[in-house]
Amino acid sequence: MAGLNPTLGAQVRVIGFLRWRLFVNSLRSVRGRLNLVSRAIAGVLVLGAGLGGGIALGAVAWGMTNEHQLNWLAVPFWLIFLFWQLFPVMATAFTQNIDASSLLRFPLSYPGYFFVRLIYGALDIATALGMCWCLGLVAGISAADLSLAPWALLAVAAFVIFNLSLARMIFVWIEHWLSSRRSREVMGVLFLLMMICFQVAGPVLGRYSKWAAPQRFAVLAKLLPLERVLPPGLAAGVIEKAVQGQHSSALLSAALIAFYTAGALWILHGRLRAQYRGESASAGEKPRALAVTNGAAIRRGWKLPLLSGAISAVFEKELRYFSRSGPMVFTLVMPVIMVFVLWGGRRALMGQQMNFVFPIGAAYCLLVMTNIVYNSFGADGGGVQFFLFSPVSFRQITAAKNLAQLTILALDVCILWLGVRLVFHAPPMRVIALTVAWLLFATPINFAIGNLLSVYSPKRIDYAVFGRQRASETTILVSLGVQMTVLGVGALALFLGRRYHTMWAATAMLATLALFSITAYFLLLARVTRIALARRDVLTTELFRA
């Protein structure tokens, strides 16, 4: 039938139009318009980082070329490469992405599909910055020696195409792995381990800094040959060899980059071809054998002394949710990591300063908890409807949630205390009292405001997912203000205590403030039911949003 043979160009234009309409339609809501403002601000920042980084790298390249130090040119190439490939993974890998393979329901040819997937979302922040910085390198080298301009352009062009291809390949494979909840959780754990590695990197480097310089250089010397045969090293090699007049070697290096690019595209092709042939993105979700147990007895729910069955039920539900959440495990191990990090830098801590490891760690524990406290219905998703039609007031539900959060915080602080005691020495009683008084002041304030924001500005989150999951912009802003206030008050109390050599007076001051904050907490808690009922439309709509 005539008219049923669309060209690739027409299909790409239609897909472009679709993306444009999605963007325009998103502006109908206030949230969409706020996101546009955020994007505009981010755009200005990216432009600044791109121009600034480009100029800085240009200056570095100019200096290296002028000083005949082109053997160091691999360093900026490696930095660009690592940023280009790691940043998108960190920023997007743990979110649930739109399944672009849904385009396959349309009569798209395979080359068309490959092309669309290659360019679909390719111009992200990392690509924009990476390209700006690469242009900076070309400009710097060309400014120092114009005869090198073609070689710099060749090296950078090959490097840019390689990075684009590799980034798309990584993205498509990660998208495949993340299509199942279980692999998302595995990635989450890997992310957690990576975070721990970053935290521990400082102490470990500090520990090995006592190595003699020749030893360190020996390790680097062993790594150099490996670095030279990888794309960033090869890109630097193109220019370096061109300077030395080894033009055929320079061309060979460029060809090797093209070879790596072909490899990345081939792996990308493997995944896309499988999708094109009918394997859906969610095929990664393999049916698992069901653990069949006949007549398994149902365990009774928890019973907390002095508390109602409903509060006990919500408390149990919250702790079960937390225990199955990667980020929550992260929250619990954080104090231990904190102690370890501080242990790495213990040589810098002098006498009295060691006493403040415990209060600093406790403040950090509370800070980590605010992620949950300020959006406490976020993980419930559609389940919030159950709270709304159950005969339990939101005041009770919120109190039970706060109780669960308080339990975790208390557990965190106990672990911290134990860690500090083992690694340093037991914190003096006056420091423990000061810390507890500050926690009694800061925690109810955070809970009170967190409860209000949880109802006023909820946002659906998944505890199993890491990454770009945040509370709403309003929540982040208010939370920041509250943290600055409570930390400021704590710091003031500490300063006054040290200034007048009476830590107990500072503790008394914080304890007095704690009375006010606890009163404020209960006053606000009493209003939560009324507010939640008034806001029930927002709660169900926002938390139901996929």
Binding site: I298, V314, K317, Q385, P391, Y463, R536, T540
Partner: protein, 263 residues
């Protein structure tokens, strides 16, 4: 005569300029199996949300079991069970944990909750996967679990929003039998469904909502005979529920329209 189990007067809900439900007057007697029908976007889910306390009405009055929802919301909630549109499940609990949670939220003691949860899981054929998280359940299994949670406390009025959607034929038969036994014991069931055959087989009374207005309400026989206000069918002439529904909501246009280019 008993007071209605569900009664609404002038029930209205507006979203800005758009009126989703307008001046709806429902009356459902105790023990009735009431089917609430309407085309997509007619206002069925909005009505059920208001009746279950998930959404506040803009105007009008609602009574469940003689209790005004505006003043006795918690008392009403104790006596109703709900399977809402989104099922209201907590994905990262197991089925038994969720039922344990639900029972205790409705005030059952731990022993009774555990006992009923075990029975319900067995009845719904969900007991063979005690360690599977709800998020890993199939859609049909989630529907069955939501139904189990809605009845664990023995409600007097049950609100079901599309309860059979995605449920297999075997489970569907089990659920229908359970619901019929419940109405025989005096439980009132308020059900929305797009599947008219289900409504025709289960419900004794039907209400039809279109463009936010209740356009017909009565027993199945009354509707089929055309004696219900809003129906233009001559009395005495029996119709199927589908014919009556299409006639009432103006579906005949779509049936007679043709797309000439379709093979």
């Amino acid at each position: 005569m008993d007071s209605p189990a569900i009664l609404t007067e002038g029930l209205t809900r507006r979203f800005g300029d758009f009126t989703a439900v307008q001046d709806v007057n429902l009356s459902v007697a105790p023990g009735q199996f009431y089917g609430f029908l309407g085309p997509n976007g007619a206002g069925k889910s909005t009505t059920i949300k208001m009746l279950t306390g998930l959404m506040a009405p803009t105007a009008g009055r609602m009574q469940i079991l003689g209790l005004d929802l505006a003043t006795h919301l918690t008392e009403v909630k104790r006596q109703i069970g709900v399977v809402p549109e989104g099922m209201a499940l907590f994905g990262r609990l197991t089925g038994s944990e969720y039922l344990n949670f639900a029972g205790r939220m409705y005030g059952l003691d731990r022993r009774t909750t555990a006992q009923r949860a075990a029975e319900l899981l067995d009845f719904m054929e969900l007991s063979q996967q005690p360690h599977t998280l709800i998020t890993d359940y199939s859609h049909g299994m989630q529907k069955k679990l939501a139904m189990a949670a809605a009845v664990i406390h023995g409600p007097k009025v049950l609100f079901l929003d599309e309860p059979f959607e995605g449920v297999d034929a075997v489970a569907s038969g089990t659920l229908k039998a359970m619901l019929q036994r419940m109405t025989a014991r005096g439980v009132t069931i308020f059900l929305t469904s797009h599947v008219l055959e289900i409504v025709e087989r289960l419900c004794t009374y039907v209400g039809i909502i279109n463009n936010g207005r209740l356009v017909a309400q009565g027993s199945l026989d009354e509707l089929r005979s055309g004696v219900v206000a809003g129906s233009a069918t001559p009395a005495g002439e029996k119709m199927t529920l589908e014919e009556f529904f299409l006639h009432t909501v103006g579906g005949s246009r779509a049936a007679t329209q043709e797309l000439s280019w379709l093979g």
